[in-house]
Amino acid sequence: MSDNGHPLFEVENLKVAIDGNEILRGVDLTINEGEIHAIMGRNGSGKSTMANVVMGHPAYEVLEGSVKYKGKDVLELDTDERARLGMFLAFQYPMSIPGVTVAKFLHSALKARAEGGDVPVREFRVNLNKAMDLLGVDSSFASRYVNDGFSGGEKKRLEILQMFVLEPTLCILDETDSGLDIDALKTVAEGVNALRSEQRAMLLITHYQRVLNYVEPDVVHVMMDGKIVRTGGIDLAEALEEKGYEWIEQELFHDTDDATSAEAAQA
């Protein structure tokens, strides 16, 4: 774990509900500049809720807690303001925008970041082509409609391409590895590794340990029932791969057991 960076992203006691059901039940998480963290957990553990609420998805209600990015409370900000400050979410299920080409979409996003300033088309095209080359994406990609008729792998590649072009400081990748064949997974991982830098932090949300064979995280967290229940290094992911989530469940059960017996002893 590298601990020389400053905290970039701090989540404190975050409690979140959707339709009145509490999904996150007190999440604490700090990511320093330059670090890559992974959050692992089963479906329904609250991982995707975490990703969406951090970006301000309107369906979620924050009950308690805070989310800070560069020391600023982002829960007060609109989604687009968060994005313009450098936060980015790679979607698990990226939306298609029929009629809007990838090039136009990215150019619009850059223009939005330029705060009224201009983004010269020529320069943009050069950068886009460079990024597409790096990711091994065909040049026809730029003139296709955003995610419209894209395969699963193409959608995830486009999410990574956006990270290259928009250069966010905090990248949250929500199950970007799921549903990919090994080649697509490698491309995604190479992209993530290429973007790794001292200033940038990343949060990989994943179901499987597989992607961590290609991207080495500094910190691994396990989420269960809306809480982070274990935090460790890559060995934690490896243990999960070997023993499955039941192993942690059992440990937790024993913890609770111990606590209960401790309480009983005190009484």
Binding site: P58, T79, D80, M95, P98, G99, V100, A109, Y145
Partner: protein, 444 residues
């Protein structure tokens, strides 16, 4: 002045031949003798026919007293409103204000090849045999009460004739600007493409400001007709842009007749007007005829749009595809009804129809009703319709990329229209259509 007198005035002013004078009078009688359409009859379920009556307004007459003389410099300035490089390249231009003699120009290359571009009044004088052969053949007096009204009182008008084998690669643009307050106007376009010919035409209706209304858009009733005859193996791209002022009521009838191996792409752009009804029909009357109909409609304020389309497959191995996109905001209303008819002899035909409606505000309403009459079972036919607001997940996706809510909605609307406009191959035409849509988007 009675209607019959108005007809006689037009006939005399244009020094029109007897057949035309007779036809106009017969049309006027038909108009007067035909009762208002029954609201239960399906074509008038969504609009009130009384709104299109002209008894409280003056018909526009080419008598030199009502119209403003057209100024060549003003005409050129109008053409300059499309000034981007991509849109400069035109084969011909015709600009008409009121019913006065229009300003028009046609590239020498096409004039030498026998192409005719002029107002209908001039065509009646100079090419009577072609006009007599085609005028009123696709949209006859019997078509409807209001089609008869246009036949009786049309003035000015646009005539495009392309002889056999001549292929015009760049667009011909006709711009009709009209309307003094409390006036009825009757634009009419006649397009004839002989065998193997091809043409791209943009026909735009607009309303010029009227000094008498202190800046408010003049109150105008417009009855417009377009008829096009597309010969064997000929290709027509016809774009009708309805950009009337905010207090115009417009009724528009369009019919395209396709012969064997002919192809038509008909694009309807609905932007202006207060109360609009449009009936557009393409008839596939020859083997292998091919028709695309594209609709782009963008309504705001309290605009009313009633659009009906028909694809009539008369012969076999014919293909039709309709894609009609509607965006509404404020309290605008749209009703779309689309008929596909496949006649008993039209085996092995294909017909597709899609109508999508995007509602940007809570108060706007859209209806979509497909109508299928399939009399031959050996065909492929699909239709689909959706009505709804912008997808919130799409908006969220764009917001997470830093676009403001406004920018996100705008890019979604642009994309929505792009899925139809991108079907237009011709670059100049494509750019011009975007000019229209962007013009309206800017007001949002």
């Amino acid at each position: 002045m009675t209607g019959a007198e108005a007809v006689r005035t037009i006939t005399q002013a244009g020094n029109e031949p007897d057949w035309l004078g007779h036809w106009r009078l017969q049309a006027w009688e038909s108009y007067e003798g035909t009762p208002l359409p029954d609201r239960v009859a399906h074509l008038w379920r969504y609009s009130e026919p009384q709104k299109f009556l002209i008894d409280k307004v003056e018909p526009l007459l080419p008598d030199g007293t009502k119209g403003r003389a057209i100024d060549q410099a003003a005409a050129m300035a109008l053409s300059d409103k499309f000034s981007s490089e991509a849109t400069r390249n035109l084969a011909g231009l015709l600009i008409q204000q009121d019913a006065q003699a229009p300003a028009f120009a046609l590239e020498d290359e096409w004039r030498d090849a026998g192409v005719i571009l002029c107002d209908l009044a001039a065509a009646v004088q100079q090419h009577p045999e072609i006009v007599e052969k085609h005028l009123g053949k696709q949209v006859p007096i019997e078509e409807s009460k209001f089609a008869a009204l246009n036949a009786a009182l049309f003035s000015g008008g646009v005539f495009l004739y392309v002889p056999a084998g001549v292929e015009i690669g760049t667009p011909v643009h006709a711009l009709y600007q009209s309307g003094q307050d409390l006036e009825a106007v009757f634009p009419r376009t006649l397009v004839v493409l002989e065998e193997g010919a091809s043409a791209i035409m943009i026909d735009e209706y607009g309303t010029a400001p009227d000094a008498s209304t202190n800046g408010a858009s003049p109150r105008v009733i417009a009855h417009a007709v377009t008829e096009a005859s597309v010969g064997k193996n000929a290709q027509l791209q016809y774009v009708n842009v309805q950009n009337w002022g905010t207090r115009t009521r417009s009724h528009y009838t369009q019919k395209i007749h396709l012969r064997r191996d002919a192809k038509a792409v008909s694009v309807g752009v609905g932007l202006g007007g207060l109360y609009n009804k449009t009936d557009v029909r393409t008839e596939l009357r020859g083997d292998n005829a091919y028709s695309e109909m594209i609709g782009v409609l963008f309504g705001d304020a309290s605009q009313h749009f009633d659009n009906h389309t028909e694809h009539i497959h008369v012969h076999g191995h014919t293909y039709s595809d309709l894609d009609f996109k509607v965006v509404l905001e404020n309290s605008a209303r749209s009703a779309y009804t689309g008929l596909i008819r496949i006649d008993v002899d039209a085996a092995d035909s294909e017909a597709y129809q899609e109508n999508r409606n995007l509602l940007l505000d809570k108060e706007c309403r859209a209806e979509s009703i497909p109508e299928l009459e399939i009399l031959n079972e050996n065909v492929r036919c699909t239709h689909g319709a959706t009505v709804g607001p912008i997808d919130e997940e799409q908006v969220f996706y764009l917001l997470t990329r830093g676009l403001s809510l406004r920018a996100a909605e705008r890019i979604i609307v642009e994309g929505f229209f792009a899925t139809v406009l991108d079907r237009i191959d011709d670059k100049a035409m494509h750019a011009r259509l975007w000019d229209y849509v962007h013009g309206k988007l800017r007001t949002r």
